[in-house]
Symmetry: C2
Subunit: 420 residues, 2 copies
């Protein structure tokens, strides 16, 4: 048994929101209530940014309904940030805030950049001999964290995209007999997991079901092959539905379509427009009509069509983070571990934060079919279980009803922190 560490806990969220990251917070809060060593349950507003500003709220003050409502509320109920801690004094400030509020447990839900931040906070606490247990909670629609089988948030975005693809395909199928090329642009900066997931919209029975072509950042894009691929589909089918990940790269590793916008705080390029670009390629090279749609931010927040499996796992990951910390673990991230065997089962495990930080998990090459535009049975076997089950979202007045935390602030005790 680890030494009992008595004190307060803090949970915060970082990076792009998902449909289920709040379910992880609900998991943390529910589990924290079970452990007397955890005295107060705080939430940090807007990730590390709010912690720097000492903006903490009292999650134990939230109503039961609010915490339960987090299970179906998308986005980040605590607010999020893309702020990158760069200076030593910022890391030191974090610890100063922790010390001022006797925070001994820190749970950070986020992607690889966030786990990197958590790792550095943990290392600094060790160096300064401040007793702190830091456990990361995996979160990203991109599904690109290493060591975990998959990431909470991924199954839900795939489920929504598959529903949209299937409905769009039915619409195209119903339209007359004209050739039509339809491009759906989905998120996915460095890895094509999201675009790949769209393959689950295909029925098992009909090989001609949409999506007909899937373009992934994992394979360098060739205009000539794209035009040939589309022509090939239109020979067999009256329409061609293409799903493309926003981060498509050319053979030199440059984004195929660059929006005018600049980079985000982590130096990632802001993307957009690859769907329109592919549509223009079709219209220029083939005498057929092309349309594009871009699901935008809504796709990662689509609780109204989210996966119960994903939601359950997000909640479980939050719970597991608390259990691990209470058991004495630190500097780890909860990972999802798929059990061996025919039937899908998922448990949690732990991996070192340093292993996760800044790694990117790409789709294994053998999960992409040889044609480069469809997914192999291995991928389907991997992804299919993740989108099972439908989260029941309550509706009020015809629209989904989500909770807003009451956000009772913890009184600040420190002087303001100076930002760059």
């Amino acid at each position: 048994m680890a030494e009992e560490l008595i004190g307060n806990c803090l949970v915060a969220q970082s990076g792009g929101p998902t449909a289920v990251i709040n379910a992880s917070v609900a998991g943390v809060v529910s589990e924290a209530l079970n452990h007397p060593c955890i005295e107060e349950i705080y939430g940090g507003m807007n990730g590390v940014l709010g912690i720097l500003k000492e903006e903490l709220i009292d999650l134990a003050e939230e109503s039961q309904q609010n915490i339960r409502g987090l299970r179906h509320t998308p986005a980040s109920a605590l607010g999020t940030c893309r702020f990158k801690l760069k200076r030593d004094q910022d890391y030191e400030r974090i610890l100063e805030v922790f010390e001022a509020h006797n925070i001994r447990y820190f749970f950070y839900a986020g992607g690889n950049d966030s786990q990197d931040t958590a790792d550095k906070i943990s290392k600094l606490a060790q160096k300064k001999d401040y007793a702190l247990r830091v456990i990361g909670v995996p979160k990203t629609i991109d599904n690109d964290l290493v060591t975990t089988d998959h990431c909470p948030g991924y199954g839900s975005v795939v489920k929504y995209i598959c529903s949209v693809v299937k409905e769009t395909a039915l619409d195209h199928e119903a339209m007359g007999q004209h050739d039509l090329v339809s491009i759906i642009e989905v998120m996915g900066r460095n890895a094509g997991w999201i675009a790949a997931g769209a393959t689950l919209a295909k029925g098992r029975e009909n090989p001609h079901d949409a999506p007909h072509l899937i373009y992934l950042p994992e394979l360098s894009f060739s205009k000539e092959k794209f035009v040939e691929d589309v022509q090939g589909v239109l020979k067999k089918n009256k329409y061609c539905l293409v799903v493309v990940g926003e981060g498509l790269l050319d053979k030199d590793g440059n984004y195929v379509a660059n929006s005018a916008s600049s980079q985000d705080a982590f130096g990632h390029q802001q993307l957009g427009g690859v769907g329109d670009y592919l549509a223009s390629l079709v219209e220029e090279n083939l005498a057929v009509k092309a349309r594009s749609s871009k699901l935008g931010t809504g796709q990662r927040a689509a609780a109204h069509c989210s996966s119960q499996t994903d939601n359950d796992e997000a909640f479980m990951a939050g719970q597991a983070a608390v259990k691990a910390a209470v058991d004495g673990e630190t500097d780890k991230m909860v990972i999802l571990v798929r059990s061996e065997g025919e039937n899908y089962q998922c448990e949690t495990g732990l991996a070192d934060l340093s292993e996760i930080a800044n790694g990117v998990k790409e789709i294994p090459p053998e999960w992409i079919s040889e044609d480069g535009v469809s997914m192999s049975a291995k991928f389907i076997k991997y992804c299919q279980p993740l989108i099972q089950g439908e989260v029941e979202v309550p509706y009020e007045n015809g629209v989904p009803s989500f909770v807003r935390l009451s956000r009772k602030r913890i009184r600040k005790v420190l002087d303001p922190h100076e930002f760059e």
Copy 2:
């Protein structure tokens, strides 16, 4: 009582699909079974185009499950077309096909162009003394048919868009404190009903809820005012969510954003890109980041988030069409009539096809607030009831499960028709 007309009935679908046009077909089939004067129940493939080609299917042969499944299956199960009948010989061919298959009842679900076609078929039958009863079934997400209170298909697209807007707004709200302008482009060629409906995503309690700005084709667009509007929102709110109808017009009546593509068969311009255009205006004129998304075809087929009220009314309109025809009515379209009184109730009525054909119902000016970018209480009172209730769509393997008709073909008895 009208004279009993014994013979077969034919139902067909035309124009852009919706989430509930198949519910209208289910209504026609269910009701037709109740009337012995209707002998066979046929479906015409791809609207008038399939009728010209004598492509008919036997709907009575479909399983009960299939007909029931049409209630939640989006798009057009019979196929649809945007083919415009122009030549006298085409109209005559339609009657020839009707005569060959003893079709005495024709139900055509579609928008104003389709009702115009139905009207002309009906008039020709009268002129040629061929006993035929023609009843139109209203259908359009655009909600722009005259005489009917609203159109089946509209409530569902609004419900889906409101859900996406609400979820997107939560996501933006969760993101740090940067100014962000987010544009969601929705359908709506000649009238802004769809964009206007997005106002229902606002909560009653918070006037700062999204959408903050709504741009409608009804009001001519001014770049300068747009930039000012956005600035005004960003003074009060950290992000600005804009909903814009694709058919936005400038002061000279030209589309604000024109895609490269040409016109459709009815001479309507193919639209797209107004969202990207507004985003570029923001980035050029204000030092803030702008994103746009375009829901595309999927929005009109989004059965997974469709309105039960809309679905029930679509079914009811199908039933009412059959009842009216059996009662001796012809050359009419079913309309939806809202009862007086505080609680929403909707009945069906009839209007002359010639009244509907090619008319366009715009939003009454007094339903748009004086600021030109929000909707008045009158609009909300009108629209709110239409999105109530959630259609329960069955899921299979994590994705919505829709029916495909078995489409048993009726044997052709005529020579092929020569097309232009």
